[in-house]
C-alpha cells in the first residue's frame, strides 16, 4: 500500500519556521490538493515528501517506509515530482529522449509514453528540441516526463501555471487517466477553480500551519470554510460559490455538473443563505 504519512513534521528553513507540526495521511489512489498563500509552506511540503528536504522533527513515510535516510533519487522510484519551472528539467535534444530520461533512471518500462504523449498532444513534437516549443508545451513535456515514470506517487508543483485553456484540458485528461490508474497524486496549486474537480482531499496551509486537512466535499459543507480560505489567502472557489448561490443541495466543481443539477432539481425559493451569496460577486 503506497500511503503517504506525515507524522508531526516540523521544518525550519534557515532558522525560520516553515512548517509546524504537520500530521496527515494521504491514502493510496487518492488526489490531494495543497493550497495556501505564497510562503505558507506548500512547496516545502512537497520537498519533504520526496526527500529533498529532511524534517527537523517528525517523520515521513511512503508506503510504510520512512524517508529519513533515503536520497531523493532513491525515492524517485516511489514518488516522482515535477517542479514549477520546466526549464529546470528539460535538457535532452528531443522530446522523446526527454520522456525516456526519468524512465531510464529508475529502470521502469516505457509503455506509458505512447498514451500520455497522445493525451497531451505531444505526438507531433516528439522529434523536436524541447526548447523550440512554447512555454506551455514545455510544461506539458516536463509533466509528461514525470508521469511516464509510472511511479505509484506523483507530485506536481503548480502544473497549470502558464497553461491556456487548451493545455489545461489536456492536463485534465492526464490527471483523469492517472486517477483511473489509481495513482496517488499530490498537487500544489493556486488554481483551485480548475483542479478541485479532481481532488479527493485538501490540505490548506497558512504560515506553515495546517488550517484544514480532510475530504474535499466535507470542507465545503463546513460553515467556516470561507474563514479558513481567507486565512490561507485563497479566494473562495467559484463553482462551489455558484452552487451555494443557486441553492443547489451539493457543491459542484465544473460547469457541466452545476448545469445538470440545475436541470434536475425542483424549482426552489431563494433561501436567506442564497441571498447572502448573491453579494459575493
Amino acid at each position: 500500500m503506497m500511503d503517504i504519512e506525515f507524522s508531526h513534521v516540523t521544518f525550519y528553513y534557515k532558522s525560520n519556521l516553515a512548517l509546524r507540526d504537520i500530521t496527515c495521511e494521504i491514502a493510496e489512489g487518492t488526489t490531494l490538493l495543497v493550497a495556501g498563500h505564497n510562503g505558507s509552506g506548500k512547496s516545502t511540503f512537497l520537498k519533504l515528501m520526496n526527500g529533498i528536504l529532511k524534517p527537523t522533527e517528525g517523520e515521513i513515510t511512503l508506503g510504510g517506509e520512512s524517508n529519513v535516510n533515503k536520497r531523493t533519487s532513491e525515492l524517485a522510484a516511489k514518488c516522482a515530482l515535477s517542479f514549477q519551472n520546466p526549464d529546470d528539467q528539460l535538457f535532452a535534444p528531443t522530446v522523446k529522449k526527454e520522456l525516456h530520461f526519468g524512465i531510464g533512471n529508475i529502470h521502469a518500462d516505457d509503455s506509458l509514453i505512447g498514451p500520455i504523449a497522445t493525451l497531451l498532444k505531444l505526438g507531433e513534437v516528439m522529434e523536436r528540441n524541447p526548447y523550440s516549443l512554447t512555454y506551455a508545451q514545455r510544461r506539458l513535456v516536463a509533466i509528461a516526463s514525470v508521469a511516464v515514470m509510472n511511479t505509484p506517487i506523483l507530485a506536481f508543483d503548480e502544473p497549470t501555471a502558464g497553461l491556456s485553456i487548451r493545455e489545461k484540458a489536456y492536463l485534465g485528461d492526464l490527471i483523469a487517466l492517472l486517477r483511473k490508474m489509481k495513482k496517488t497524486l499530490v498537487v500544489v496549486t493556486h488554481d483551485l477553480n480548475f483542479l478541485l474537480q479532481y481532488a479527493d482531499s485538501l490540505l490548506l496551509l497558512a504560515h506553515g500551519k495546517v488550517e484544514y486537512f480532510g475530504g474535499r466535499d466535507m470542507f465545503f459543507d463546513r460553515k467556516d470554510s470561507r474563514q479558513i480560505l481567507a486565512r490561507c489567502g485563497i479566494t473562495y472557489p467559484v463553482y462551489p460559490r455558484i452552487s451555494a448561490a443557486t441553492n443547489l443541495k451539493a457543491h459542484y466543481f465544473i460547469a457541466a455538473d452545476v448545469a445538470d443539477s440545475l436541470k434536475k432539481r425542483e424549482p426552489a425559493p431563494p433561501s436567506a443563505q442564497g441571498q447572502h451569496q448573491l453579494e459575493g460577486a
Partner: protein, 260 residues
C-alpha cells in the same frame, strides 16, 4: 522562420485598458514586445509595419514601461536594495533625486511592498520579484504600461490586489495586459483583443466579441460557462424569450440559474 504575428492593426487610446487574450503561442508576448518597440532587439526577426505614438508631453524616455513574461531578467541586480532597484530606470531618465525618491516611495506604497524596500533583490521569491518589477514599471510613470502575464507567480490574494491597482492606474495611463484570467478581464478591461495564430481574431468589448469562434480561444468566467452549459439544453431565456449564451454579469447569471 515561424510567423509570430501578421497583419496586426491595433489602436490603444488614452487611459484605455486592453486585455490581450489567446491560447499559448497565439502571439501575445510578441505583440507586447512589438507595442514596446522591442522587436528590433531580435537580430534574426524580420518585421514590418509602424508604431505611431501620439504624445502630448515629451519627457525623457519613451513613455512606455513593460513587465515582461520573463520578469526575472528585469531585476538588474545592479543595486543592493529593492528601493534602489525600483529607482534605477528613473535614475537613467536624469530626473532630480527628490523626484526619484518620491516616485519610488509612491510605487512601493501602491504595490504594498514596503516590507521589501531594504531587502537584497537576490533574496526575493518569484512572487516578490514580480511585484518589484511591477513597482519599477509604475515608478517610471509611463503613458503606456505593458504587462505580459503579470499574475504568473502571484497568489490569489495578490492577484485580487493587483486587480485593484490596475483599476487605479487606468486613471493616469493606458494599459496593455496579456493575461487569460477572465476575472481580471471583467474587472479592468475596456477592450479585449483576442489573438489566434498570430492574427487578431476579435477586438472590442468582451460582451460584443463573444461568439463560437472566440469562446474556444479564451477562458470565460465560471458563471458564463454554467449558462453556456444550460443553453446547450436550451434552458436559459431572457424575458423576451431569447436564448442567452454568454452571460458575463455574475448577479444576472445567478438569477437566471435560480429560475431554472
Amino acid at each position: 522562420m515561424p510567423l509570430a504575428l501578421s497583419a496586426i492593426n491595433l489602436e490603444v487610446n488614452e487611459r484605455e485598458c486592453i486585455m490581450l487574450n489567446g491560447l499559448s503561442g497565439s502571439g501575445k508576448s510578441t505583440l507586447c514586445l512589438a507595442a514596446a518597440d522591442f522587436l528590433k532587439a531580435f537580430p534574426a526577426a524580420v518585421s514590418s509595419g509602424k508604431i505611431i505614438r501620439h504624445r502630448t508631453e515629451q519627457e525623457g524616455g519613451t513613455g512606455i514601461a513593460m513587465v515582461m513574461q520573463n520578469f526575472y531578467s528585469q531585476i538588474t541586480y545592479l543595486r543592493p536594495t529593492v528601493f534602489e532597484e525600483i529607482a534605477f530606470p528613473c535614475e537613467n531618465l536624469g530626473l532630480p533625486r527628490d523626484e526619484i525618491i518620491e516616485r519610488t516611495d509612491d510605487a512601493i506604497a501602491r504595490i504594498r511592498i514596503g516590507h521589501l524596500a531594504g531587502r537584497n533583490p537576490l533574496d526575493l521569491s518569484g512572487g516578490e520579484k514580480q511585484k518589484v518589477v511591477l513597482a519599477t514599471a509604475i515608478a517610471m510613470s509611463p503613458d503606456l504600461l505593458i504587462l505580459d502575464e503579470p499574475l504568473s507567480q502571484l497568489d490569489p490574494e495578490s492577484t485580487s490586489h493587483l486587480g485593484e491597482i490596475l483599476s487605479g492606474l487606468k486613471r493616469s495611463m493606458s494599459l496593455i495586459i496579456a493575461e487569460n484570467d477572465p476575472y481580471l478581464t471583467l474587472k479592468v478591461a475596456d477592450r479585449v483583443v483576442v489573438l489566434s495564430d498570430g492574427k487578431i481574431l476579435a477586438d472590442g468589448k468582451l460582451e460584443n466579441i463573444l461568439g463560437p469562434d472566440v469562446e474556444c480561444e479564451i477562458d470565460l468566467p465560471a458563471w458564463t460557462r454554467c449558462i453556456m452549459e444550460l443553453q446547450n439544453g436550451d434552458r436559459t431565456r431572457d424575458h423576451a424569450g431569447t436564448a442567452i449564451r454568454y452571460e458575463l454579469n455574475y448577479k444576472r447569471a445567478i438569477e437566471t440559474m435560480r429560475k431554472i
